[in-house]
Subunit: 346 residues, 2 copies
């Protein structure tokens, strides 16, 4: 297999360019099947590389003169800033000069660029962002967690199908359990979107649909793949983050409240830390934008070296597993299925 070529946004995220450059160096050291193009301010990126003492040829600097800021309106930014790291990286994927693009920058710009520059696999209506979230049983895929705020039933069906392929290959779980995010277990529950989507998921032969999953059952591992619109996905992701942060703050404060509790804290510290480590979301890198002709991965704005490194290695795995080819043939089957369904409804 040839090297997987990853175009990496060296200017994206709170910790750029240090974290992306360090992540790139760590990734090519860990996996010799990876080549990284570092896109960004030439001087800044080269400074970081020499600071880290990297001199190999698995990393190449691609100078860019512009940067898309987090708060910029995405459509305008993508169409105007042709020499930004995001637009340049996406264009490399489009023209076959790179296989993947990874960025911790503006989500909006990445979503727009992915669709407009990289382009969708034939049949894919909207690419969703899929995020692996830690649970008591391992990891579940929350899809869509950021791309399509107002979704349609058929989009959700495709999210379920693409998510299934990704999860099955990436996590090595046969026939992963797909569930729709809902307010109750019964089929008649939900908002209009869920009620219309439910029968589509139930009828699809491409997935192992197990029904509804309530938000309450997500962290205990109630489903492998949780299908939802991006507004709801954001609620799940951010509520998870906020609640965890609150509980850790409250517990920490409580443990520091007296000499007695401080001694207790010393005794439990190590065990507690290792238990909570299972809930570290950084393990699998970023969230792929599925259904594109190449691969685009969005990592957290706060992503550090490890998360960036894992996102790069994730790209390698994505190609090694032929996930895009599988999405392509699934979309063909899905088109047949929808055609049949429409004929039946006539």
């Amino acid at each position: 297999m040839e090297k997987i070529r990853v175009a990496l946004d060296a200017m994206g995220g709170d910790l750029a360019p240090q974290a992306p450059v360090a992540g790139a160096v760590a990734a090519v050291k860990e996996n010799s099947g990876v080549k990284v193009f570092l896109l960004g301010n030439e001087a800044a990126v080269k400074d970081e590389l020499s600071r880290l003492g990297y001199t190999g040829d698995a990393i190449e600097v691609v100078p860019c003169t512009e940067t898309i800021e987090m708060a910029e309106p995405p459509v305008a930014a993508i169409s105007k800033k042709k020499d930004s790291s995001i637009v340049r990286g996406m264009n490399m994927v489009r023209h076959g000069e790179a296989d993947c693009f990874v960025s911790a920058g503006s989500t909006g710009a990445i979503l727009v660029g992915g669709q407009v520059i990289v382009g969708r696999v034939k049949g894919v209506q909207r690419p969703p962002l899929g995020s692996l979230i830690p649970t008591e049983k391992g990891f579940s895929l929350l899809i869509d967690c950021g791309a399509n705020m107002d979704a349609r039933p058929q989009w959700l069906l495709q999210f379920a199908e693409m998510g299934s392929i990704y999860y099955e290959n990436f996590m090595g779980v046969k026939k992963p359990r797909v569930a729709i995010l809902n307010v109750g277990a019964e089929e008649e529950k939900g908002n209009a979107l869920v009620k219309e989507t439910f029968p589509l998921l139930k009828a699809s032969e491409n997935i192992n649909f197990v029904g509804s999953v309530e938000a309450r059952d997500i962290t205990s591992g109630g489903a492998d793949i949780i299908v939802c619109d991006a507004f709801s996905g954001n609620m799940i992701l951010k509520m998870y983050e906020g609640t965890a942060a609150t509980f850790l703050r409250v517990i920490k404060k409580s443990l520091m409240s007296s000499l007695k509790t401080k001694i207790g804290a010393l005794l439990i510290q190590k065990s507690l830390k290792s238990s909570l480590k299972a809930f570290d979301a950084k393990k699998y890198g970023g969230a792929p934008l599925l259904g594109l002709k190449g691969l685009v991965v969005k990592t957290h704005g706060s992503a550090g070296e490890v998360e960036i490194k894992n996102s790069i290695l994730q790209c390698h795995q994505f190609y090694a597993l032929n996930i895009n080819e599988q999405i392509r043939s699934c979309m063909e089957a899905e088109a047949e299925f929808m055609k049949k369904l429409r004929q039946e409804q006539k």
Copy 2:
């Protein structure tokens, strides 16, 4: 002031009739301004009362021969089971024989009954369920948390207005901070519903609108009143519950993993318990269905004696504070505001 008359569903919830009867007895003992009508199976309710040794006249049993089950389709149940505790209780409020109705039974039946039997305050388009959720700073009102799965912008405006009145009076906080649940802080973020609602909230003179609140900032107390559709509200409520349960399970397991951690656990136990007690949602009783001509309160299906008692006392406070009169005049002002807004748009 005359006694507040509360019709209590003695058959609703997982712990009925024990918990409702015990909650009623506790409530009338704690507040002599309350009278409770216990609606349900006569023999079962009287058995419980005599088991508790209650012989006073602040509780009256209203025999009902039917019960609405949790899984029953709500509309059919409300129209057919005329002698159920829910339909009887709602009718008592409608006919002025009771001021409030409290139930831990079927949410669907309570929502339908509230609208169809008790009826809405003039001008109210849809009554929302408002739930007080614990945060690091106290309690926030999540509204709508269960009634309207697919909402419209003007409904959300009314949720914000009614929620403000409820929170300001009930929690004693002047000009509480109202925020719309959103995926980011910027005004252009959100799904279609949020984008259309935002300018309405911003223009309303009846509330102290502070903009968007992200799900991540809810548990730390980012807003006093969080306005959303009921689907999103359910995600927040259930994700809160699920994440908290997961973390407590993981911590407990970690504390029991060795002799050393067990000793540590003994030292921190008391402090930790008292810190976590601040996150007990039972303190304020159930969730009121706001905007009805009377008051309808839905408590958790698993509500025990204390939660039922608090829900009954909550009814007393609701009337003592004249919340419904304030909602009535706010709705009049709101109708004027919408009229003006429509004229301006022409």
